[in-house]
């Protein structure tokens, strides 16, 4: 069925207004990316402001969706896998084009961090755009709105991946009370369950007895660290700044506190939550399959 082409700008305007479309209105043959995204928006129910990182990053929203891929970060390898899995709408938690601006005109460069922005002829970005176009992929960033669900899937997903779901203390908080184990053993378990390499780093007392663990996928600020570290035996976060939170955990260790801070890597901590997103989509978009595609731990360490 032929559809009127909807420009990217019109699409943004369209999804920025409160147009509700009943689920299941569109048939499988005509299920466009635009329709899927509108349905996701309606289901998530939260306000959908035009500011913020979420939104269409590449592709034509009138594309008919064959299948949906979810991922923590839409790397080129993830996109290639999405194509192999016969999916063409990719929902990504992190950017696609190497910055929060996601390929848009950059803000002023931060001092000491080198030139900002991405040149229009950058060969890596260009090859990625070409791949997206050639394979008629549609890329949508789904972060704030996925995170706004009261179920807090980024945390419950990470807990499930670690095998800790049954140990949650309160549904309103992200503390888990586990059978006692040493910090070293807990770190080994995290490494093995999340299949991590050099991305995992641990600070603090490796012999500490770990029972209460705070899960914090993504990036953790110093304030949260200061407020919550002594409530638990271990914090497991995605990433922190070394000269802030890591330094705090190291000082706690120097002060004799028997605790540990573990960082898994930001994307690694977000993978299980996006896996849950694919599960959720199966109940919201029944017409096409939804699959999660993993990024894997990007880091390695030389052995020498």
């Amino acid at each position: 069925m032929k559809r009127t082409h909807i420009s990217r700008r019109d699409f943004v305007v369209l999804t920025g207004t409160a147009v509700a479309v009943a689920p299941g209105l569109a048939g499988a043959e005509t299920l466009t990316a635009e329709a899927v995204l509108r349905r996701i928006r309606t289901e998530l129910g939260s306000e959908w402001p035009s500011t913020g990182p979420d939104g269409l990053k590449a592709g034509d929203p009138s594309t008919v969706v064959k299948g949906i891929a979810t991922t923590a970060m839409a790397t080129l390898d993830v996109l290639k896998q999405a194509v192999r899995e016969n999916t063409n709408l990719v929902l990504t938690y992190e950017p696609t084009f190497y910055s929060r601006a996601d390929g848009r005109a950059p803000a002023a460069p931060a001092p000491g961090r080198g030139p900002a922005g991405l040149s229009t002829d950058d060969p890596v970005a260009k090859a990625k755009r070409d791949y997206i176009e050639k394979n008629r992929l549609v890329i949508f960033r789904l972060r704030d709105h996925w995170q706004s669900r009261k179920e807090n899937d980024m945390v419950t997903g990470l807990a499930a991946a670690l095998g800790w779901s049954a140990h949650r203390v309160k549904s309103t908080d992200t503390v888990y009370e586990l059978p006692k184990a040493t910090a070293e053993a807990t770190v080994a378990l995290i490494r093995s369950k999340l299949n991590l390499r050099a991305g995992l780093r641990a600070v603090g007392d490796r012999k500490a007895t770990i029972r209460r663990v705070l899960l914090f996928p993504g990036s953790m600020t110093p304030t949260i660290m200061w407020q919550r570290y002594t409530e638990v035996d271990m914090i497991v976060a995605g990433e922190v700044r070394e000269w802030e939170n890591t330094h705090y955990a190291a000082d706690m260790f120097a002060a004799g506190e028997k605790r540990a801070l573990v960082t898994t890597g930001r994307v690694a901590s977000e993978e299980p939550g996006m896996r849950l997103c694919a599960e959720w989509l199966k109940s919201v978009v029944k017409e096409v399959p939804a699959k999660w595609i993993g990024v894997g731990d990007p880091y390695w360490r030389p052995t020498a």
Partner: protein, 259 residues
């Protein structure tokens, strides 16, 4: 000689106009008018480092990084924090004083943090570098071999690398601490301390993963923040000795925090 007098001498010798609005380069804790028995230079005022400086009889600490676990050393949220009290009491009880030199060190020529980082990485020719040395050409090697050399030479336990270890590389861009430079078409490898992994000003990790997927030789070597700027604080201490002769000056390293 008081700590304040030491700082005045540094301001006079650093060779750049002093920016009094810097929130970083200020006294952090202790009495600036205390008599200085000895100076410890360090990358970060960790509690462990403070104890070692005190044991060595050095009561003035000149640190490149923060003392109170946030970049601005803002202590408003920390007044009731037991670790804040413990660390502060330790400094006051032992008549110590902490002053930070960060922004001005990076504005100085040479930027000793980068001089030290290049030496730590085993890359020659960085003795007079500024904060941004530009692209350095090293004899062609593989990313895996370069990473192994950097690990041996710097001693970084928790070094993290991204990219194909077999990729042939020779064009290197180095930056200190959190100022890990961005990679691009003209650069094969960036070497830095740490960096936000994604959703930042420029996401090196995703760029390198995509370059690898395209068969382009690109890589990242991240030393950790402490290790990347640590060696330069020894050079900074040596520089202090050229104009401060009355008190002992010693480099007291901050510990690499990771297992």
């Amino acid at each position: 000689m008081t700590a304040r007098e030491v700082v005045e001498l540094i301001k006079k010798n650093q060779g750049i106009p002093w920016n009094d609005r810097s929130t970083r380069d200020t006294f952090k804790v202790g009495n600036p008018d205390a008599a200085v028995k000895g100076i410890a230079t360090t990358m970060m005022t960790s509690f462990d480092m403070l104890k070692r400086a005190n044991a060595a009889g050095l009561n003035m600490v000149i640190t490149h990084e923060d003392t109170y676990w946030n970049d601005r050393d803002d202590t408003n949220e920390l007044t009731d924090n037991p670790l804040y009290k413990l660390k502060t009491d330790f400094v006051l009880k032992n008549d110590m004083v902490v002053w930070r030199d960060h922004d001005h060190m990076h504005a100085m020529t040479p930027d000793y943090t980068v001089v030290g980082e290049l030496r730590s990485a085993g890359i020659k020719g960085g003795e007079h570098t500024t904060m941004r040395p530009g692209i350095l050409t090293i004899p062609e090697t593989t990313l895996g071999e370069l990473a192994a050399q950097v690990k041996r030479s710097s001693g970084a336990r928790a070094i993290r690398c991204v990219g194909d270890p077999k990729a042939k590389v020779s064009k290197v861009l180095v930056g200190p601490g959190y100022a890990t430079p961005r990679i691009g078409p003209e650069v094969d490898v960036v070497i830095g301390g740490e960096q936000q992994e994604a959703d930042g000003g420029f996401d090196n990790v995703e760029y390198v993963l995509d370059a690898v997927s395209l068969g382009m030789p690109k890589g990242i070597i991240m030393l950790g923040h402490v290790i990347s700027e640590q060696a330069g604080m020894e050079d900074f201490g040596n520089w202090l000795r050229t104009f401060i002769h009355d008190v002992p000056i010693q480099f007291v390293p901050a510990e690499e925090p990771y297992w």
